[in-house]
């Protein structure tokens, strides 16, 4: 029942209103902190949305044979899981799940975190493919690991933050950001939240809906089938600005390489067969590697393989230039081309037991 209209504001009402304001504010904050702890998908929808779909498909009885490819946006656009499943069906009658776990702006360290999460969730893929994004593997003054450029502590749990300390992410840098997001979650996680509830209200670049808009196999279907020469040139120029400087004298070393090694160790420990994949690249992109750099790259990956029984699939020359949007992200025909060849040359032999010969 409302008081009569003639009544005047009172001190008591002001104190109570402010007190209740503070109380509700704290309730909302604590509520969100608890919700984020209970549903990590709120914190890291890029991982969470793909993981939920993968685990829903893979952890059923009878267990399907599961092939997962973890990688960056290159994988996201390139690994066409449904096509692979359909292509494998005539050869392997049992249920097969080929799942694309490509997450943009991620590298070996992020992939390691994601693998740990998937293993902790009970997933044991029959084959794990891990994309190797060569520029990420180097050691660069002030920028090691390179993933620092895209790393968001708010997507990690506190334990993961501690774990990452040995991978070049000192807690003095990551902890304040993490604490800020943990204590003020409505603001720090606003894009994750708004991107889920009202995506049209925020610019596409901060929507965190990359993993929500995929098909059942996690594939981020490229919107286009072709690009104009001008668009292609613009794409290459951007890729050049982003990566050439790192590829010119790449020396695989440091935390990113350690993370790859750790991925291999984890896989061996959990009896998960592992292939490293160098994703397709256009001629212009490949020209930025010198022969020496190619040798160093090959040597570093072979070295891991020798110790942990892994293989390297070099797909860099698999796809013609016109099937890229920018010499390293595949268009739809490129994704089909790459997935078909991957199925025929790698997955089929593996499933037929000829894989790790």
């Amino acid at each position: 029942m409302l008081p009569p209209a003639s009544c005047r504001p009172t001190r008591r009402q002001a104190v109570r209103a402010l007190g209740f304001g503070l109380f509700f504010w704290l309730v909302l904050q604590v509520g969100m902190i608890v919700a984020v702890a209970a549903y990590p998908r709120l914190r890291d929808p890029l991982y969470g949305d793909k993981a939920v779909r993968l685990l829903r498909r893979a952890l059923v009885e009878p267990r399907p044979r599961t092939i997962v490819m973890i990688g960056s946006s290159r994988t996201g656009f390139g690994f066409h899981g449904r096509r692979i499943e359909a292509r494998l069906k005539p050869i392997r009658p049992e249920s097969i799940v080929a799942y694309n776990f490509g997450i943009p702006s991620s590298g070996p360290i992020t992939h390691l975190i994601y693998l740990r999460r998937l293993l902790a969730a009970g997933l044991r893929p029959d084959l794990l493919l891990v994309e190797v994004l060569p520029p990420m593997l180097g050691r660069y003054p002030g920028r090691t690991p390179l993933e620092k450029l895209w790393f968001y502590p708010d997507r990690m749990t506190y334990d993961e933050l501690r774990y990452l300390e040995s991978y070049g992410f000192p807690r003095s840098e990551t902890e304040p950001k993490w604490l800020h997001s943990a204590l003020n979650p409505w603001f720090s996680l606003r894009f994750q939240l708004a991107g889920r509830v009202v995506p049209g209200w925020i610019p596409w670049s901060v929507r965190y809906d990359w993993s929500r808009g995929t098909d059942e196999s996690g594939w981020n279907t490229p919107m286009r089938t072709t690009v104009t020469p001008a668009e292609y040139a613009k794409g290459i120029a951007q890729a050049q600005a982003e990566y050439e400087i790192y590829l010119r004298d790449l020396q695989p070393a440091g935390p990113a390489l350690t993370a790859l090694t750790e991925i291999a160790r984890l896989c061996r420990e959990n009896a998960v067969p592992l292939y490293f994949v160098l994703m397709p690249e256009g001629k212009d992109f490949r020209a930025w590697y010198s022969p020496t750099v190619n040798q160093r790259l090959r040597f570093a990956l072979d070295e891991i393989g020798r110790h942990h029984n892994t293989r390297v699939i070099d797909c860099r020359e698999w796809v013609p230039d016109h099937e890229f949007s920018d010499a390293h992200h595949l268009l739809r025909p490129g994704a089909e081309h790459f997935s078909d060849r991957m199925t025929d040359e790698v997955l089929q032999p593996f499933l037929q037991g000829r894989g790790l010969q």
Binding site: A5, P9, F20, F23, W186, R190, A194, I202, S205
Partner: protein, 474 residues
């Protein structure tokens, strides 16, 4: 340190806590002075010293004015104060503009003289505190107020951090008496302050910054956008500038309330104005009343022929435009508003004896039409409310000549329509006086929940990077 930053929140909480813990009013004034200096110096220490220096100079000049009986000396002193304040403003803000304009003029007549442009940082809020200082000196000269004897009190009048960088432009007659009154903490004022602050924060973070996502790319390069996109961007800009500036003013008023000071309200729902004259009674009230009292009236106001009043209006609005920014685009903006005001005056004069027309204009349909027309006119003028005349012309060309564009706006227009609907609802609530009733009659838990929700929504709806307040640059 912007009002909508975590740094300001921490700063304000510290100041607030110490302020109300101090037992003496004098100490509180000193604390506010120190806090205000720190607030300004957090941007630039040297410029903070500049503000302090001119403030002390104004204090001394006013004291001398009060001390002397010679009218001639008083005139000299007030002229000195005005010239000094305007001189500093002109040097920092208008020097390059005048030199550039002179250079272009000379080039046009074949002279190739070039002037060296200075690389100057324009002190934040210089236009605001300059006008406050001038109004003080003129009021002392006119005998409307006595010169303040207490230097810290006077310095607080100019430097008080809530209004220092973007107003409202306070008058000494309103503010200085408050510095003398002993302050007692009041929960009612605290509640009013929190309400104002939250309202301003919501306007800034949830609306103004969001609208900037639509308008900024188009205002930066309109050549990429289609006719429809430019209209949408302009509409978004109209909302943005209102919410940005009134949001800042609300936050300033709210902070001042929490510290026991009352600042003048700067906005009264200006987009509900049925004509442009009324718009200026509702928009940036502290500036429009300043221009009226210290420029329009001294020029003779409307005490003469219609043409004489029109001339004065044009002078005032042109200078008002120039006050906002040192480019020709702002001048054109001022001139356009002057033309609208003059046009309205002539229309009013013409319609004086047309009873039927006036009766129709007073109907709800007529009122809505006038409101829409006023909004459209004001919105079109906003095209010039940015530094480049060239961009303004391009925008107008593309707005009125259907043009295809290649770029899409970064956000779907849906959120713009929802925002407009929300603002219309808020204006309805405000215009009907419902909020005043609710704030008294609603139970405390409902009010508290409203505060918490407003703050949470402001945080959730804030876009990518917080935008600086538009009026900080003036």
């Amino acid at each position: 340190m912007f009002f909508n930053s975590l740094a300001f929140l921490v700063f304000f909480l510290i100041v607030f806590t110490i302020y109300w813990s101090l037992p003496y009013q004098r100490l509180r004034v000193y604390l506010l002075l120190a806090a205000s200096f720190y607030f300004y110096a957090s941007w630039d220490e040297a410029l903070a010293m500049l503000v302090v220096s001119t403030t002390i100079a104004d204090y001394i000049v006013a004291r001398c004015m009060c001390a002397t009986r010679s009218q001639e000396l008083k005139k000299f002193l007030v002229a000195f104060s005005v010239v000094m304040n305007l001189g500093v403003l002109a040097y920092f803000k208008y020097r390059n503009f005048f030199l550039e304009s002179l250079q272009q003029g000379l080039h046009a007549i074949g002279d190739t003289t070039t002037f060296e442009m200075a690389k100057l940082i324009v002190p934040f809020g210089i236009s605001f505190y300059t006008f406050e200082a001038i109004s003080y000196s003129v009021d002392v000269f006119r005998g409307k107020i006595k010169a303040e004897r207490n230097l810290p009190n006077f310095m607080l009048f100019i430097l008080f951090f809530p209004h220092l960088v973007s107003g409202p432009i306070v008058r000494a007659g309103d503010f200085l008496p408050q510095t003398h009154r002993p302050k007692r903490f009041s929960w009612l004022r605290m509640q009013a302050g929190v309400q104002f602050f939250l309202m301003g924060l919501f306007k800034k973070m949830a609306i103004a910054d969001r609208m900037a996502v639509y308008s900024t790319p188009v205002f930066e390069d309109p050549t990429k956008y289609s006719t429809g996109s430019i209209w949408i961007a302009l509409l978004a800009f109209a909302i943005r500038i209102y919410c940005d500036f009134s949001g800042y003013s609300d936050m300033a008023v709210g902070c001042a309330h929490m510290l026991g000071y009352k600042l003048t309200l700067n906005f009264r729902m200006p987009y509900l104005a049925p004509n442009v004259q009324d718009f200026w009674h509702r928009w940036h009230i502290s500036l429009s009343t300043w221009l009226r009292d210290y420029l329009y009236f001294p020029l003779g106001g409307s005490r003469g022929s219609a043409w004489f009043a029109a001339r004065n209006t044009m002078i005032v609005m042109t200078l008002g435009g120039l006050w906002h920014g040192a480019t020709w685009s702002y001048v054109v903006w001022g001139v356009l508003h002057g033309c609208l005001l003059v046009g309205h005056r002539f229309f009013k004069e013409w319609a004086k004896d047309k009873q039927q027309l006036r009766a129709w204009l007073d109907t709800s349909v007529g009122y809505a039409l006038r409101m829409a027309l006023t909004f459209l006119a004001v919105m079109l003028c906003w095209v010039f409310f940015q530094p480049s005349l060239e961009i303004a012309v391009t925008m107008l060309q593309r707005m009125f000549v259907p043009t295809p564009g290649t770029e899409m706006l970064p956000l779907h227009p849906r959120s713009l329509w929802y925002t407009i609907a929300f603002m219309a609802l808020c204006h309805y609530i405000g215009a009907k006086g419902l909020w005043k009733t609710w704030s008294v009659r609603l139970p405390a838990p409902a009010l508290g929940f409203g505060y918490a929700t407003a703050l949470t929504l402001a945080l959730v709806l804030a876009p990518d990077a917080g935008q600086a307040f538009i009026y900080f640059q003036f």
